[in-house]
């Protein structure tokens, strides 16, 4: 199957076909992609390099069959990334249009041809030394990348299925339920937040070194996407802001995006309550899923597991050019302690 790869020039052409893929996330929308391009920078050997977005459409004849946003960083070493660096994005990668309605044989041959063409395009246009993609959740097939010689690693995120708030509550870990009750009893309240609250959350995260993007980026996202796609929840004690989270609402899912800096005083954790209230908000507003983003980080595992979300898989795929760079990585992995 021969396919063509083209760079999309207008937001209309891009956003019009987004709905055709079951794996589309808000990060794939034109506006989010462009905002990320503006703010994403990568430090390569001490040099700060700006990102250049390639919003690629894959055409089979005249028909668009897939989209693949790729960011290129040109420095002493060249990178092709999707999602870009330093914008708090967990996944992006390819979208295959009409994926669910295709039969398996068509699905995989289309996906394979698409990735092969994009891989060639990247090689010709960007000649990167390092390629790294995180594919969108629920796209369970990573074989096209494997067949093209990429290293693939499975990743996970937690997704709660929202039925009724009682069901969700029952499914929580006992200690989480206790924590929420305790916070409530101690007078902690949760309210919706605004731009100033987003900045407050950002500052709290920055202080704890738990955010890796700029305040400008977060503010711009808020300005562009509030209130339709971005919602802020703030936990307060007597008017004093303790903690908060910024959520993304897209399609039938609400995602926890940034926030919840570690905060406990007298054994009270406002984060648990703020999550609970935002989940309740999602249920009341008819959303079907709530994603507690990222289930791989063992240090955050103890907090996130308590929500008892279902595991959803996505993949990290990487490739080195020339491949001898892989040797350096292999040596590094050899030195790094493995046995716990």
């Amino acid at each position: 199957m021969m396919m063509d790869v083209e760079i999309v020039k207008s937001s209309k052409d891009w956003d019009n076909v987004l709905d055709l893929s079951p794996h589309t996330t808000i990060f794939h929308t034109w506006c989010w992609l462009k905002t990320m391009e503006k703010h994403s920078k990568k430090k390569i050997m001490g040099k700060r390099c700006r990102a250049k977005l390639y919003p690629l459409v894959i055409l089979d004849g005249d028909d668009a069959v897939g989209l693949f946003p790729v960011y290129h960083y040109k420095g002493p070493v060249s990178f092709a990334l999707s999602p870009p660096s330093g914008v708090e994005d967990l996944y992006l990668g390819p979208l295959i249009l009409n994926y669910d309605s295709l039969k398996q044989s068509k699905r995989e041959s289309r996906f394979f041809s698409m990735v092969r063409e994009v891989d060639m395009f990247i090689k010709d246009e960007m000649s990167p030394n390092f390629i790294l993609f995180h594919t969108p959740p629920n796209l369970l097939d990573s074989r096209p990348f494997k067949w093209l010689g990429y290293d693939v690693e499975p990743r996970y995120t937690y997704v709660l299925h929202l039925t009724t708030i009682d069901e969700v509550w029952k499914n929580f870990h006992r200690s989480l339920r206790r924590g929420i009750e305790k916070a409530r009893k101690n007078g902690i309240t949760v309210r919706m937040g605004d731009k100033e609250d987003v900045e407050h959350i950002y500052n709290l995260l920055r202080r704890r070194n738990r955010i890796h993007t700029t305040k400008d980026f977060v503010s711009e996202i808020y300005e562009k996407f509030y209130p339709k796609n971005v919602r802020v929840f703030i936990a307060e004690d007597d008017g004093e802001r303790l903690s908060g989270i910024v959520n993304i609402c897209y399609r039938d899912k609400v995602c926890f995006w940034i926030g919840a800096p570690k905060y406990t005083s007298n054994g009270i954790n406002p984060n648990e309550l703020v999550f609970y209230e935002s989940i309740r908000w999602a249920v009341e507003n008819g959303y079907r899923y709530y994603e507690v983003m990222g289930a791989d980080d063992f240090t955050l595992y103890d907090f996130k597991r308590k929500f008892n979300g279902n595991l959803t898989m996505y993949f990290t795929v990487r490739r080195y050019r020339p491949s001898f760079i892989k040797v350096i990585e292999a040596v590094y992995r050899c030195i790094r302690p493995r046995y716990r």
């Binding site: 039969k103 398996q104 044989s105 995989e108 394979f112 369970l140 097939d141 990573s142 074989r143 494997k146 067949w147 290293d151 693939v152 690693e153 499975p154 996970y156 937690y158 499914n171 870990h173 289930a295 791989d296 063992f298 595992y301 597991r305 308590k306 008892n308 979300g309 279902n310 595991l311 898989m313 993949f315 491949s323 001898f324 892989k326 040797v327 292999a330 040596v331 992995r333 050899c334 493995r338 046995y339 716990r340």
Partner: protein, 351 residues
Amino acid sequence: MRPSIGASGLGIGDKMIEICEDGVYWDELVERSPHGSIFHTWEWLKIVEKHTSSKLYPIVGFKGSTPIGVYPIFLQKRGIFRLAFSPPSRALLLYMGPAFVRYNSLKQSRRETTFLEFQNAVDKFIRDELRCGYVRVRTSPELIDCRPLKWSGYDVEPLYTYVIDLAKGVDGVLRNLNRKLRAGIEKTRKEGVKVEQGDKEDLEHLRILLYERFVKQGRKPKRSYYKSYLRDIYRRFYPDNLRIFVARYKGETVGGLVVLCFKDWSALWIGIPKIELKGIYPNDLAQWEAIKWACENGFKRYEEMDAGHLKFRHFKSKYNPCVAPWFSAEKCLGMYRFAKVIRGVLNVIKG
């Protein structure tokens, strides 16, 4: 009541792992586990142990007195190296690994802690008792969480298999097949190809064809490749868990496959290499007859084992299966890590 099964028990906190010596008890746990496959059954493991020059450690995990799962580990000694596998290579097996009891009824957080604790206990056993520096575990497709392995220091790679849902019945599955495949099957049937259930001799014939395929691929298998292994598997598992479907054309065997079945699962295990015959597709017909047989005998799933090969995907994907990931996890220690780097470097040099 916890049965007395263990020869050696290792205390890991309040959790214990034990080496099981009671095949009936083991099989009962495998039967209860959603990850328990035919490859986990006691007799299959014992046959694998016999034919792969390895020592089997059938580990059962306990929480208090309640069994949480089984974890078969095979120890192999190669020169100065001591290696642990689940499953071992050269036994025509894709996956094995841990099989947890009552897993699906647990909350997600409980599933994770159970797996993580069991994995840690098994790792400790492999390291301290078996003194292995290399472990390779390949988990069942039913187990979608590989994080406990990652968190325990394994490098994990996703692998794939194809699963056809038989819930819609024969007609439903038939409707879903690729149009060309349907036409091909019909044509093959009209040309007079007949599919029958085979026996020991057909299995032997299949083995020889398999052997010839390996020779053609440039490998150097022994003449007796898999002979006694397949004979033992046949003796124990035919006809309840193993069926052979062969396609015959003008008195000759021109296609076929070996199907395994266990609980509500059936699978294409070994297939006969494609024989070039113009305009007819005996392997397609044979597999279709196997799927039909599985449907009619109440199996809920039919797996076309291994979806990892670019080359073979066309044969399997035209039945319109779902693609299901499973995982290969590897961990190396000390000089084994060094050996792996050398191997990696050689691979890169070879391209």
